[in-house]
């Protein structure tokens, strides 16, 4: 099959160019993130809502509470290792002067957001032209980074309260409990509203799993990235 020439002229066959969007390592990171967060959420909710009858139905024996906490801790360690890898890579890339920087917040994001708001309010007909990561995607990334920082720190305090209060004031323990419990819900709600809308409803974007994004979506949603990759000047981003 592979040595047959591509039948570019046939009307029965549509050929499509795709662009690599995520490297295998990044796709693995996302998969680990989804899995560990899901396990953490599912084992965390019954602990947060222990006073309710549905939680007590799940945690039906004292041993089950221990079990679910152990699972929660294991998932937390997996996620922590992933975070260490991610930060390690960040530092490595900076040290090698190779950090792409496309995910870093920039003034352009504020301008894009403003233009987007104008577009959404029918004050402008032009959508902002995005690069590889638009401000929505950057916001998701940094929201999660911020949330994981809080969850990790407060989670460690709850796991080792005596150790932490050897150095830090005792008041951080109830504060950590409140933060851990609130941030978890906030992050879950955010991911469902914001991230799920953008990757499932607005358009089905599976590039984080496949690694590839097709030409049409790249040109429409990331016109500046499309230009950078192809060298074509006239993007058809908004015109359709």
């Amino acid at each position: 099959m592979s040595n047959q020439p591509a039948p570019t002229t046939s009307k029965m066959v549509r050929t499509e160019r795709v662009f690599q969007r995520f490297a295998p390592g990044q796709r693995w990171e996302h998969a680990i993130l989804i899995l560990s967060l899901l396990v953490l959420l599912l084992t965390g909710l019954p602990q947060k809502y222990r006073a309710t009858s549905w939680s007590q139905a799940i945690l039906s024996t004292p041993q089950r509470l221990d079990t679910i906490q152990t699972i929660h801790h294991i998932a937390a360690i997996v996620l922590a290792l992933e975070a260490v890898y991610h930060i390690g890579q960040f530092i490595y890339l900076i040290a090698r002067r190779k950090l792409p920087g496309a995910m870093l917040p920039a003034w352009q994001d504020v301008k894009d957001a403003w233009q987007m708001v104008k577009y959404l309010l029918f004050l402008s007909k032009e959508k902002p032209k995005f690069g590889k990561y638009n401000f929505e995607q950057k916001f998701t990334y940094w929201f999660i980074i911020f949330g994981l920082g809080i969850m990790g720190f407060s989670g460690l305090i709850l796991w080792f309260p005596i150790l932490f209060t050897r150095v830090l004031p005792g008041g951080i323990v109830p504060a950590a409990k409140l933060a851990h419990s609130s941030e978890a819900i906030a992050a879950a709600v955010f991911v469902v509203i914001w991230h799920f809308y953008h990757v499932h409803i607005e358009r089905l974007n599976l590039s984080i799993f496949t690694g590839w994004l097709n030409e049409k979506d790249t040109r429409e949603f990331h016109p500046l990235e499309y230009q950078r990759l192809t060298g074509e000047k006239n993007s058809q981003g908004e015109k359709k």
């Binding site: 708001v117 029918f122 209060t165 005792g170 951080i172 409140l178 955010f190 809308y197």
Partner: protein, 354 residues
Amino acid sequence: VFTSLGIYLFVAQPVQAAPAAQETEKYCLNCHNNPELKMTLPSGETLSLYVSPETLSQSVHSPLGIECEACHTNITIYPHPANTYQTSREFSRAYYQACQKCHPTNYEKTQDSMHAQVAADGNLNAPVCTDCHGAHDVHAPDQPRAHISETCGKCHTEILATYTGSVHGAALLQENNPDVPVCTDCHGVHNIQDPRTANFRVQTPEMCANCHANQELMAKYGLPANVYDIYKLSWHGVDVSVYKARWPTIWHDSAICTDCHGIHDILKTTDAASKVNPSNLLKTCQKCHPEAGPNWTGAWTGHNEISLERTPFVFYTQAFYTSFTPFVLWLSVIYVALQILRATAARIKRSLQR
């Protein structure tokens, strides 16, 4: 006389007063009013057979016409049937059973009590009705109220001594305070249970809350009435409520009121000797958290609502999660809603152009 009799009939509900027809008292007292009257039991004990007519006339029963034969059912005439009891204790344990004729409910309750259980295991010193209420000198047990605790203290001497020094005991015994708990308020009256069980433990916070969640009562003493509600939200409290709901018979170590405040030795938190006084709090925490360092007590919010002065870390955390986080989430919701609207509008426009 009739009024007080009426009140008594009303107050002592289970009493089914027998018709005042037994004229046995006068008859019996002919002999038993002699202070010298006694007999020697087979055990060698000397049993006084003297009954003070004065004591009898002041008891609750005699004025109601409930006389000797009502309880001493086997002795109706002189000469009496031969004595079959070996010891005076055997005597008491046999005669108290007459109480159930008129007081069946309370009698039944005592049969389920810790005391009955101990007696069944062979300790005949376990109290029967007459040990607490008296025999020929039965009075209302709570006149004055302190009398209840003093009665229990006849056997439980050490606990009474401890209780006497507590905030509850001192108020009861020194001021005859009508609100503080006497023994029976926490332990029950006739069906007193073993307080060392998991079941008793898990119900303790609610028991304390009977008074300490009572707004009116607590206001009288300048105490907050929300301590139980806040405790229930705490780490310990949630744990305890789950055990109470699901596993009341499984022992658990999450702290209940008495673990920190003490049991019979509860003091005001401002008292320097109180286990929860700031100067002793760390030691109290260390009973369960032996590794805890001096900062640890700061983790305890002390049944207080979140406030900037007392719990600044929690206060700022709460402020963050009740203002900034909802703000960001609402912004996200609005943004996504606008996107849906705009995309729908664009789609309609496209279909119209077609």
